[in-house]
Amino acid sequence: MKGYTDKPWSVGILFSQTGVTAIIEQSQLNGALLAIDEINEAGGIEGRPIDPVILDPQSEPARYRELAEQLLADPDINVIFGCYMSSSRKEVLPVVERHNGLLFYPTLYEGFEYSPNVIYGGAAPNQNSLPLAMYLMENYGSRFYFVGSDYIYPRESNRVMRNIVRQGGGEVVAEEYVDLNAGPEDFQAILEDIARVEPDVIFSTVVGTGTVNFYRAYHASGGDGRKRPIASLTTNEAEVAAMGPEAALGHITAAPYFRNLPGEANSVFLERYRAKFGEVRTVTSCCEAAYFQVHLFANALRLTGTTSADPLRRVLRGAEYEAPQGRIKIDPDNNHTYLQSRIARVTVDGEYRLEREATRPIKPDPYLAVPALNDWANAPIRKE
């Protein structure tokens, strides 16, 4: 190993460590930092370590733009890992496009975007909403109750879900939105309505701290996930740990990755995570995405020897990686990622137990306006 005499490769990191989405973004930050550690311990890239410049946008979309400007104003920084909420990505996007930088976005989102300056590492709706809707209708019934935080992702996500539910002959009995900073009391009226309407399943696109408040309030109001589950695309291990196993029991999440997946790549990942952070409670699918995106970047950097966007993009398109979730690949058509598709349910011990998974990675289709129920049919599924 070279004794790092050369200048390090500086990369920007924009994950909020404070504010409403801090739990999940801290988890993404950890994933990115773990990967950077691994790369640096193995000798860096061309003998130069990766040096993360970490800024905290405090869950404020406008701050993401300011800090992205600040990062890219540094001539050594051309690559940023960051953003959770779509609203924050939309703020950063014009900045990275203007500087011709590269944003690695390790979060599921609503689709309908392509920028040559973004590499999308989270699931598009065809990779998670479709399988989830099919699973719910097969197992719980067709009367859906939608609850979401009030911003673009929940609204668009619900539009997709509504389409699928209708195609399956189901019905959306209500669609309610709460403030992003919703406290436990903000869910009272909705919970009363749920008790009255008696839907088969609740589809939640509540994000951030509202998630923990919502699941807890549901539990306190007598809601039972084993009978009428809350299904989500975002609720994860870190939030389950925060709400406690009683409130989380029986609820369902669709994601490419769950912490307790079997497999060599995942156990090595978790081992190293534990060694660095002392626990694995905060490992989530978005954390895993941040982790593999840093590795994809490092592998690309090894080939290009520069952090300029154009050469990086050329080698990133079609790049593959053996991630903790399994093999993934950047789709050269749209900069999104072929991902695994899985559905899991929280058991009594507060762990996700796999219910169903696709047998191979699913191609991202970010511009799927009208998802058809049979779109997933060409991806064989494995039931547990």
Binding site: Y114, S115, P116, D333, N334, D365, Y367, L368, A369
Partner: protein, 215 residues
């Protein structure tokens, strides 16, 4: 067709890009593929007739393009048109107006905006077509009602009947002959004109005779 339909039918659209093969055409084509349209770029515009095109992106420059105009003329139904313009100079703007584009996509082409420009152009195109159809329908309705009125007047004058009776006579005749009321009205008007001409013309020719006779 309502707006939801426009979004739902995006992927079925047959899209043609009439633009020289360069970075802009490439960028546009790739974004169209991402959106999921059936898209192809052809340059120069094909001289042979092609499959019906639903939507065409056409390069618009300071000089009107004859090959593009010829191609559009050969289309059975005018496709939705989106102009690809690199300049906003009056001559380019003039050509955009002359072509009657439903939307404009500025160059250099960026992936953002392609989808909205398609959706908006489709809406304008559909509304235009809907209005055209409505106008054609209303026009023929007005014409038909004029014909019917004229025919009724003819019958009323010849037979000394009321309007209501005249109408019933026309309708009855239409049912007998399995024709439309308008067709019968048309025949009545034509026959009347013919009879009128037959009566009037000899008169006009015999005028001098009549006059001399009277004298």
């Amino acid at each position: 067709m309502d707006n939801e339909d426009i979004i739902q039918r995006l992927r079925g659209l047959n899209v043609l890009v009439l633009h020289p093969r360069d970075g802009d055409a490439e960028e546009l084509l790739q974004q169209l593929m991402r959106i999921g349209c059936r898209a192809q770029a052809i340059w120069p515009p094909p001289r042979m007739s092609t499959e019906q095109v639903d939507l065409a992106f056409v390069e618009v420059r300071e000089k009107p393009s004859e090959v593009t105009a010829d191609f559009l003329k050969r289309q059975q139904e005018r496709p939705t048109l989106i102009g690809l313009a690199g300049y906003e100079s009056p001559s380019v703007l003039h050509n955009l107006i002359d072509l009657g584009v439903d939307g404009v996509l500025p160059k250099p082409v960026r992936p953002y905006g392609v989808l909205s420009s398609i959706v908006n152009a489709r809406r304008i195109w559909q509304e235009g077509r809907k209005k055209e159809k409505l106008i054609t329908k209303l026009k023929s309705k007005v014409e038909n009602s004029q014909k019917l009125n004229e025919a009724k007047l003819v019958l009323m004058r010849i037979h000394g009947i009321e309007e209501e009776q005249a109408y019933r006579a026309i309708r009855h005749q239409a049912m007998e002959c399995r024709k439309t009321v308008t067709e019968i009205a048309q025949s009545i008007i034509e026959s009347n004109a013919l009879l009128h001409n037959l009566v009037v013309r000899p008169k006009a020719g015999d005028e001098s005779v009549d006059e001399s006779g009277r004298d």
